[in-house]
Symmetry: C2
Subunit: 221 residues, 2 copies
């Protein structure tokens, strides 16, 4: 084996160790609580600047973690969207919102960290914008999904539509976190499988989008 | 003024400064990212052990922050529950779940930190259990609310019922965080007032509880 090939493999292994470690530490302790130095140390790198050398800033590191999950999620989503075509059934579009995430999490095995990592990133406005960009940039399918869903939901006041889209995202992320954490901690889960968790999410999200809109309700006593 | 009274007032002012500072720092950076020492410093205390002296452990500090909001929320909830009596309308019970939080947040003015503080605490299983205890211990009204709501929702498989209760909590917390953060950052909000945000939450949560349950759906392609 040529020296350069051996060095390439070593670099790949180091980068993987850094990404694995960062994902876990970010998921458990939050993105801001973990310095690049501490991640380098925890990944067993003698050189405390390993994160900086291999990835750059912390935002670049977060982006790299997002990226390594995005492709698989995108593949699932593209396949599901091809199956439903121009469906006018809201449920089909909600399925395409929920299952790419839950199937990816199921495929990661146990324990996984991705749901908790995404929850931490989503809680930070700057990092959230960055990952949105990363996702949308790499994913025309997300636009297609938004458009398809919008065609099937009632016409809503703009603020109500936005709120329900935000609620949808939070439900998917937070319920994935609940299940991921229970599996990691070996505590009981509410539903037997990721597929059942997704069923529950789809039921709730379809109902949420179809809910009648109350506006200007009198202030209750 | 007697010396002891003056000292009491000084202690009260110090404790308030520590609680205000801790609430803000926990909300912005997460509970684990902030040491008691850093909170003492940021609160302008010359003595870096001020948190330890006045509150004890970090868990005690979190508990003290929860407690100073709990009473006002409890008062709103008790009043609303008295008004609805033995209502059999699910919406009434959902109102009692949502409005005590949003009204409290509205009353805190701008900027507030409480929604983001609670989101950080809720993301930590140990701290979450601690605050649950703090809430339930101090609040028979929460049990009454749970019972009333359970009487009005369809009979659901246990895991589905639990999931929907968890979804309800996440929606209230996360949508409060979105609005609180937008107000603090002076970015546009999706709805004009906290009252409108609550309307949107109540609509969504009522629909979520009434959604038909899918079980054992065939795995979509």
């Amino acid at each position: 084996m040529a020296d350069s090939t051996r060095r390439d493999e070593q670099v790949r292994a180091t980068r993987k160790a850094l990404l694995d470690t960062a994902e876990r530490l970010f998921a458990e302790h939050g993105v801001h609580a973990m310095s690049n130095r501490r991640i380098s140390e925890a990944a067993g790198q003698g050189n405390n600047t390993a994160v900086g050398y291999h990835f750059g800033t912390k935002a670049d590191l977060v982006r790299a973690i997002v990226r390594r999950h995005a492709e698989e999620i995108e593949n699932i989503r593209v396949g599901m969207l091809a199956d439903i075509g121009d469906s006018t059934d809201l449920r089909d579009w909600v399925e395409c919102s929920v299952r790419p995430v839950t199937r990816h999490l199921a495929a990661l095995g146990r324990p996984s960290w991705y749901a908790r990592f995404i929850a931490q990133v989503s809680a930070d406005p700057a990092l959230y914008a960055l990952t949105e960009e990363e996702f949308f940039g790499a994913s025309p399918s997300l636009r297609k999904l938004e458009d398809g869903l919008t065609r099937c939901v009632p016409v809503l006041p703009a603020g109500v539509h936005t709120d329900r889209a935000v609620m949808t995202r939070h439900l998917i992320v937070q319920m994935s976190v609940e299940r991921e954490r229970a599996l990691a901690d070996d505590t009981p889960t509410t539903r037997p499988t990721w597929h059942d968790t997704a069923d529950g999410l789809v039921d709730a999200i379809v109902a949420l989008w179809q809910a009648p809109v109350t506006t200007g309700a009198p202030t209750p006593k």
